[in-house]
Symmetry: C3
Subunit: 331 residues, 3 copies
């Protein structure tokens, strides 16, 4: 818990409002309460600002007149937000064995595991050798965690889940703010990963925690090996995703989707229910209609590809040229 005076100092901001107000955590402008800090990066989010219930808002000078609460005024809002997140990150105490406050009485825990503070593990759940579970994690019943898995602080996993070897759950999201000298400043990710029931997670798959809200894997989801799920992604119930696929930040996948292997889905998209994306495709826009989608260049003998490739990169010029030719001929 910090008062606004302290927060202003942390990020070198001008405080407009009550220096003694205290905030205990960070939330989005829409969901923040009066004991929380939020930020509004630009005019695009003005309506969120106007109605926010937050105790204090990091913002630019030009948004100050629309701020209904205390303000921390800075030049670069996103950078200030990145810096301040680190003050709200929970520390992890490097654990030794099973922490005395962990509730694991009905679980089977193999050797060389590390179980952190206040971890709760359910009935008939197995934690295999050399797996590390950090502070505050909760795991349900009848779940099987394979060897060499890492589950980071505060994440939760439901019942009847399988986590395959080498998987990482709750790694930091890839969110960074750039300063005016092009240096990156890491955002400390304060959300968790929440995994429902009857989910399977493949070997060496990584799921990042959310920035402020949680990354969510809903009931019945199937994730294959070596998949990357970025911060704040939501994967709808009973969706299955094949190996090597990556989903960038804040994208929402519907229910019962089937995503092929090595598909790349860019960030901030909405994919509706019952979508099939074929292997190796790139999804670079929202999908609003159920059905099957593809975007790959067919395989060719290399010599053929060299010929085709020559024209591919000037397809626009070819089409225009031919249209002109046709027009000339017609005239």
């Amino acid at each position: 818990m910090y008062n606004l005076q302290e927060l202003a100092q942390f990020i070198d901001a001008k405080l407009i409002g009550d220096a003694d107000v205290k905030v205990s955590s960070v939330a989005s402008a829409i969901s923040a309460k009066n004991n929380q800090l939020t930020y509004v990066v630009n005019q695009k989010y003005k309506s969120d600002l106007v109605s926010t219930q937050a105790g204090v808002v990091i913002l630019n000078h030009d948004l100050l007149k629309d701020c209904p609460t205390n303000a921390l005024v800075v030049d670069d809002v996103y950078l200030a937000f990145a810096k301040i997140t680190h003050y709200f990150k929970k520390e992890v105490t490097p654990a030794n064995g099973i922490h005395s406050s962990a509730k694991t009485g009905q679980a089977i825990i193999a050797q060389n595991c590390t179980i952190g503070k206040e971890v709760v593990i359910g009935r008939n759940t197995t934690i295999s050798s050399n797996t590390v579970i950090e502070d505050g994690v909760t795991i349900g019943d009848n779940t099987y965690i394979h060897p060499n898995v890492t589950i980071l602080q505060g994440c939760s996993i439901g019942d009847n889940v399988v986590v395959s070897p080498g998987a990482v759950i709750g790694s930091e999201g890839f969110g960074n703010a750039r300063d005016n000298q092009n240096k990156w400043h890491t955002i400390a990710h304060l959300g968790n990963v929440v995994i429902g029931n009857n989910v399977t997670i493949g070997a060496n798959t990584t799921i990042d925690r959310g920035t402020l809200e949680d990354t969510q894997i809903h009931n019945g989801v199937r994730l294959d090996n070596l998949i990357h799920i970025a911060h704040n992604v939501i994967i709808g119930q009973d969706t299955a995703i094949a190996a090597n696929t990556g989903i960038a930040g804040s994208t929402i996948l519907g229910k019962r989707c089937m995503i092929g292997g090595m598909v790349g889905i860019v960030g901030h998209l909405n994919i509706c229910d019952d979508v099939i994306v074929n292997a190796k495709s790139t999804v670079d826009k929202d999908i609003k209609t159920p059905g099957m989608y593809t975007g790959i260049l067919p395989l060719m003998p290399h010599k053929q590809w060299q010929n085709v490739g020559l024209w591919l990169v000037k397809l626009d010029k070819i089409v225009k040229y031919l249209n002109i030719k046709l027009k000339n001929l017609k005239d």
Copy 2:
């Protein structure tokens, strides 16, 4: 070992035949013996059914008349198969240190390793720190297993093999049956991974076990980092595969192939010997002729790509339009 009465109950099937017959494992219709169970999903595999030696077959009512042995009749064969595999999966006892039944006398085993029941490790083989080797694994001579590796139950590795850090060998295959409510049911994979001699496996690469038969990596194969090899894949002798590549289930690669980085090879394909696939290509059909193959869109400055992309997605329409124009002009 279960009798047919029990099996019928497990999957809610109608038993046609001798309830007292016992089966001890599961095999494909072609290879199953009279103490094994098999399944036939539809008419396409009728010839396998007619000649099967299996003790019992899971099938639909309409295939019953062609069944030469005991039958377990269900509506959804694949789903029933998925459910029944779990009864044949061997349990892994969470191990503590080196199990007393393991034969590791001539190997070098670092600290914090877990070596399961009846593991056999050869002469002059090194198992590095924090590696987990489950029950029944066999490893040959002069092999080097790096730290933080996981080798799951029953897999075998030959002589002079290198397994890099974080690799996972024998993870569950990504096979799931969907029920009529679109819920996924995991298939328990009963095959193993069999790795020959003189093979190298890269860091954080994952190799899934087979469904009924084994996933096979033949002698002399080179696998780079972060590769995904799915269930029942067979990689022929002296084939080399670069990083980030994924090979989907049941695909067979020939000998001496060179597969570039981040190539995606879809499932159930046959790739002949001496094939080179360039980096980032998608292989979506059998390759029957040795040679070099490619399928990528060349890199362009983004503005150029935007122009080209506009036409790419309507290439079919453009070609048709131009042909019509040409025809009209001719007339």
Copy 3:
């Protein structure tokens, strides 16, 4: 340290020169000193040979006349080089706990870690549970190494670095020489990985050591999850790379680049400063001009893609056909 007599025997070479000369390590022809061995694969590198300061050079008979120093003459230079590297590889002693020669007094080290010989870890640096750090690694101050990480022998990491769970630093490069029977011979990679200050490395990302020189990750770099960085890659200051991307051997990336997710960059390229490559693109040639680049096929409904794809693979034929038609019409 070996004398030339011994080295000639190791690779079955003809020694031209002084059998008693001793060399202690391997270097490139340009940088090698008189106590080092080098190799020159063909006429293309003749100028490097002519000016080399190496104690001995592995080369073909036809380059012998241009060799200013001792020579080891073989038929297949690259294969001989691959074989001889193994004699210069440092052995790693499987460690137990924290080696007595390690300097870790001001670091926080969790349980089940392995810290090798002569490791140096700085002030206020955390090594989390089940992480393995091999001989000779150095790590700076205020660095945070997450659980289940592997850092292999001789690598170095700067200050204020974060290494996420499951990352592997210093795995062997994917370099192999093929003999005349198409068998692969692994090159032992003798370089290290050198990571600067203020770098973050994502979960399950792998960074290979260099062949002779080091793989370099400069200050301020941001690497997301499941990235593959091959041997001898150099990543310039403040460059950020998103998840699932792979960079092949010896490629040099400039400063302040932003590389999207699942991008593939082939080997031996030079990418200049301030380049943006969009997600899923393939980079297959040098980039000499700052700016944004893309190379993906746009996503389409599958039926549309089938139509477009039909024409894509014969684009060269279509263009030629239309040009001929146009010409005929004109005449």
